[in-house]
Symmetry: C2
Amino acid sequence: MISYFDYKNTTEEKIGNEGISLRDVEAMSDTINKAYNGVINKYKNKELGFMDVIYDEDLNKYYELSKYYKDYEYIVIIGMGGSILGTQMVYEGIHGIYYNELNSNSKKVYFLDNSDPEKLYDILKIVDLKKTLLFVISKSGNTVETLANFFIIKEKMDRIGCSNNIIIISSGGILKNIAEKEGYMLFDVPENVGGRFSVLSSVGLAPMSCMGIDIKGLIEGARDMDKLCKNEDVFKNPALMNALIHYIFLNRGKSISVLMPYIERLHKFGIWYRQLWAESLGKDGKGQTPVISIGAKDQHSQLQLYLDGPKDKIITFLKVKKFKEDFIIKYQNHYLNNHKLSKLINFEQLGTEGALTSKGIPNISIVLEELNEYSLGKLIYMYEIGTAFMGEMMGINTFNQPAVEEGKIITRKLLEGKSIENMMKNKLNEKYLIEM
Amino acid sequence: MISYFDYKNTTEEKIGNEGISLRDVEAMSDTINKAYNGVINKYKNKELGFMDVIYDEDLNKYYELSKYYKDYEYIVIIGMGGSILGTQMVYEGIHGIYYNELNSNSKKVYFLDNSDPEKLYDILKIVDLKKTLLFVISKSGNTVETLANFFIIKEKMDRIGCSNNIIIISSGGILKNIAEKEGYMLFDVPENVGGRFSVLSSVGLAPMSCMGIDIKGLIEGARDMDKLCKNEDVFKNPALMNALIHYIFLNRGKSISVLMPYIERLHKFGIWYRQLWAESLGKDGKGQTPVISIGAKDQHSQLQLYLDGPKDKIITFLKVKKFKEDFIIKYQNHYLNNHKLSKLINFEQLGTEGALTSKGIPNISIVLEELNEYSLGKLIYMYEIGTAFMGEMMGINTFNQPAVEEGKIITRKLLEGKSIENMMKNKLNEKYLIEM
């Protein structure tokens, strides 16, 4: 056995009345078939590009890219949401959070993923733009924060004459126009690959190839998971089973899905999952709020609530059997003596799992042999296709995000100096202010 | 007007039927009085040390500490939950996330807040222990992850003869014993200050004083907020009003409280708040799940769910009028041209606020003139005492965390090699595994 998806603590047998029985699964067979066939049909109709890219992408062009730019010292990536979270997830999942400080010989990597001016200032103070490879990523080519950061940096790069360092990943809008006009290197995003499903397309592969990531390993993991997930037997398909379990418990009032990795390198995986789950499934009044907790540390922050608060959560643990590094704890006459630190954190996960289970709180464990590109590729793909299955079960369109337009329109009107009556009125309501 | 707490978008007037009316507040006057008096009585009974420390602490001892250790190049802090989150919040709130990379002349700071062996490995690879000031913080003195990390580092420090660099903050257990036996510098934690309420006691003040934080500013902010929060008029007391609003909406099905700062330096404030809210209020089947979102970036990740998913959320925005740094965006013929980047992010917040309000989703804005030690001290104290008010309204004990013991017992038994029947049985349930 290599890695596994373990759902025993969602069963009647383990958590009692609230748990799932074999009868429950059998009673859902129509829903399961509908979801499975819905996804497969969309795939056959070429609507689900994320399932195609793992076979269609020619990795050689990314290897050439990374060779061409190998002497650069810094990488800055500008993007929002699905344009950047996937790359952050893989970068941190493979290299950890201290890589910039640890490795003086590798490229230092910075993610410009907000319109916070202090963040831009700090990053510009650290990097030398002449030695910086700049990726600017937006599928639509019109993402306002991406353009704002890019316009500011472009002006500086133009001034010092290093705009040869700019790589655009976009399939339209102002960004693609600029790339074509200025002759920047340009990668397209396949039309049928949505932003939050795009990490294994050019959106992720191009920048990751320049960061010392084994993109072939990622793709191989995704392909092997794809085989498993095309099995229509729910008992052999981890993504379909994961969707089914979450769907059943959502209908039983578990409005929150907690993802809790017991390895810090998977923190950003959680942040990526959060977008996938929230934005794909949160519509028409439906949805399940994703929450990320980090084990063991959030045992000292969130666990009290999970165990003794409202019974509105289903928990998924992510853990690895083997860490890249380890230590043996030495302290005479203490029960920690001679234990490995990795054993402590994994036993803490078992302790939390046991406590939740004894309170009847459903929990799943995904156990990886170790965390590398191959296992991460599996995990990514499992969650992508699993989200598609879940959307089919819920009867919603998994691949749009219609509600976010209104706020954008208000922002744009404000920037254009238009009087926003509603906003102006707000300003007058000082009776609902407390000075502090 | 300096900073303000703005709750207009929780009112009937703004969000319609679901909103709060003046009648609602009047109808709650008994609850408000009970909560107010409950907190004040506990304070008078000396049960709420977090309200005393801001007057009792002699800051001079921390100034001396920082002077004594001024030549050290690194600071490592070992602690879990409330022993470390407060210091992280203030450090990042003042210095931002890139401080270690930006400032070659300042001490580099690392937070060892988990039992993840890869994290320990990376930090030990970066720092030179001979030049490292090590804070080890645990009120009980028995926190297992803290001891594990400490035992491993202590062995290395003993070997190279630099255990003079160790500072213990604890009021008991093994940690205090070791400090006394080995003659380490030791700070006590006042008995009546709970871990998650301890950031303005020795727990935070000692390490922060060595990180270039103006601890006097923090304390002054907290004191000024304390004055406001001792006002029994809910319309003039932001913490009491915040608790009331959250209590009313919790009873109306808002089971999730989203905190959404539109300035990245407040991300860790969110993580600190998350513990305060979850662990204090999540008990007896009650509680409200805290969720942290970062604006503007999570508009591209979570906003679709907030706007169009289940109506189970109340949102609190945190924003600043003035950022430490700013940029002017230049790009001819684009609506961003000549706008400040700070204006973009603040207009995005207004856009999100407007969209939520038009959908009837309650939201609060806390607007700070700027983010510095003084305003952060205010915010911290407002949330501490506000959590105490909320606990009184909910009729629970805000200051314990009884549910987390069971998991710890299982972990310890596993480490002691005892057969955990329940755990062993789990291993046999391979019928609920899917290999992947």
